[in-house]
């Protein structure tokens, strides 16, 4: 018992040590970010340093924007509430594209991986469609589905689908033959194999692609908006670019980045909740 208590105490100590170093790391992160913004400010503020590249001291400000103006813009958006509609539209498009693309990818992946005939038939087309630079499709989708959210969702789906599809396909192909034979020996029917063996195995591969696919859904939404829409953060950026308002463009990019990070964080949380069964590479920590 005292042995156990000692081990407990040790791991407790290790944990606080880790927490401390994590705190320090966060501080460094903030300092680095602050340093970058400071550098940006110093380089663009007219008259602060002697001009060395542009003849006109106002030029740098015009081309690169200024951090405090950018932050003021972001603050005005959130405080005034004008950003929420655009952000809501972009997020809605992202989530729809992500959900639909994932479900389609999962369904097609399972189907093709389990049916050799269908997979041989579809193989060259899948390869061709994946090789195709699909960003080119965005304007066509705008023509087909209008300037509303449908065209952005469809575009996002084409990006997400292939990521999920290939991962599921791989996941099914790489189910351990022994685990499969074992489940069959335990009396699993074909449907049960699909539900209890193939699907869980494929899901783990889908989760490993979640970060990529949610990122691509986001890209799909923003690029779609940028190419033609009346709402969304991509639209805001496009509008501002039209009048050379670099500060607003950068503010839009910063807001998008923040939300991409938040989405990524949520995905990480879901992933660690659902994939507890997966062994982690290293479970020990160095003292």
């Amino acid at each position: 018992m005292p042995e156990a208590a000692r081990v407990e105490g040790e791991s407790e100590g290790r944990r606080t040590h880790l927490r401390a170093s994590r705190g320090r790391l966060a501080l460094y992160h903030v300092l680095l970010l602050g340093g970058l913004f400071l550098f940006w400010y110093v380089m663009t503020e007219p008259g602060l340093i002697p001009p060395f590249y542009f003849d006109d001291p106002m030029r740098a400000k015009f081309f690169f924007g200024q951090p405090h103006v950018v932050f003021k813009r972001i603050w005005a958006w959130f405080a005034g509430g004008s950003i929420y509609l655009h952000l809501g539209v972009t997020l809605l498009e992202t989530l729809l594209a992500f959900a639909i693309g994932t479900v389609l990818g999962l369904a097609f992946g399972l189907w093709l991986a389990l049916s050799p005939t269908a997979s041989t038939l579809a193989d060259p087309y899948i390869k061709a469609m994946n090789a195709m630079p699909r960003v080119i499709l965005a304007p066509i989708f705008a023509v087909w589905f209008g300037l509303g959210i449908t065209s952005k969702v469809v575009f996002g789906v084409t990006l997400v689908f292939f990521i999920v599809f290939f991962n599921v396909y791989q996941g099914v192909k790489e189910v351990s033959p022994v685990v499969l034979a074992n489940a069959r020996m335990l009396g699993a029917s074909r449907q049960q194999l699909l539900r209890y063996v193939y699907l869980p195995s494929a899901t783990s591969w889908v989760f490993s692609s979640l970060h990529t696919s949610i990122g691509l859904a986001f890209v799909g939404a923003v690029v779609g908006e940028y190419l033609g829409s009346a709402r969304g953060v991509g639209y805001l950026i496009h509008q501002a670019e039209g009048v050379f308002d670099i500060d607003t463009v950068l503010a839009g990019i910063l807001v998008l980045t923040m939300f991409a990070l938040i989405l990524d964080f949520i995905v990480t949380q879901i992933e660690s909740r659902l994939l507890v069964w997966r062994p982690r590479a290293a479970e020990t920590e160095r003292l």
């Binding site: 022994v178 685990v179 034979a181 489940a183 020996m185 335990l186 029917s189 049960q192 507890v276 997966r278």
Partner: protein, 269 residues
């Protein structure tokens, strides 16, 4: 003799070679083998001699090129539902914890969750894993995983146990513990067992009968030995008895040539 639990009749397994057309590889040739009701039979043979092929045929996972399989007198079609199969490699579903792995077979059979869980807990207890119900396979040691696999099979109460070198991946100490545990569980209701191993000592210590296979290709039985050691046995102690050593010497004499042949062949290729 009553109807054997498992009867393999003149089994031949020929595989099409992966490279050349028309080239064939005969893994097992004309093998007849029976496991009586309640009998523990071991099959030993040099590595790569097609022992696992034979077991897969008995399990219904592999269709023989020719020959018949009878289970309790009935011809086998499809998966052998009366058999439990313990694999050499990891066979647990990594996304299920120990409890869910053990009750998988009951779940497939449509038994309700509460009942299945109750029985799975009993079995985990019987293999000494109480308190490990919610561990995932990667959180268990090799020996524990084998115990879970054993519970997963025995919970379905199969009439026949097929075991493919189940303990070969374990260290010697764990392995002997597992062998004793297997004998304990087996003596409770005497299932018929077909146990495959390359370890002659293990085969003699566990079995009622040992069958020696020739080196591949075209493996076939070349000797059969009744093991008249008294039961219950302790695998550690029985290895030191004179009768054990005698049997070991006798069977090894027969096996040695085959092992050397297998070795020579594996060096050539």
């Amino acid at each position: 003799m009553s109807t054997p639990a498992l009867l393999l009749e003149r089994i031949t397994c020929t595989f099409a070679s992966r490279e050349g057309q028309g080239e064939r590889y005969t893994a097992v040739k004309d093998t007849t083998l029976a496991v009586g009701a309640g009998e523990f039979v071991s099959v030993v043979g040099p590595t790569g001699c097609g022992k696992s092929t034979l077991l897969n045929v008995a399990a219904g996972l592999l269709l023989p090129s020719s020959g018949n399989v009878r289970v309790l007198g009935e011809p086998l079609a499809g998966i052998n539902a009366k058999a439990g199969y313990m694999f050499q490699a990891e066979s647990l579903m990594p996304w299920r914890n120990a409890l869910d792995n053990v009750l998988a077979g009951l779940e497939f059979a449509g038994i309700d969750r509460g009942e299945a869980e109750k029985r799975a807990r009993e079995w985990l207890d019987r293999v000494g894993l109480t308190g490990f119900e919610h561990r995932y396979p990667h959180e268990l040691s090799g020996g524990m995983r084998k115990r879970v696999a054993l519970a997963q099979i025995l919970i379905l109460d199969p009439r026949l146990l097929l075991m493919d070198e189940p303990f070969s991946a374990l260290d010697v100490q764990t392995r002997q513990l597992m062998e004793n545990e297997l004998l304990d569980l087996w003596s409770a209701d005497r299932k018929s067992v077909l146990f495959i191993t390359h370890d002659l000592e293990e085969a003699i210590a566990l079995s009622d009968r040992v069958i020696v296979l020739s080196a591949g290709p075209a493996t076939h039985p070349i000797g059969e030995y009744a093991i008249d050691l008294p039961r219950p046995r302790d695998v550690n102690e029985i290895r030191l008895t004179p009768r054990f050593l005698e049997l070991h010497a006798e069977i090894w004499h027969k096996m040695k040539n085959e092992v050397l042949k297998g070795y020579a062949r594996s060096r050539k290729s």
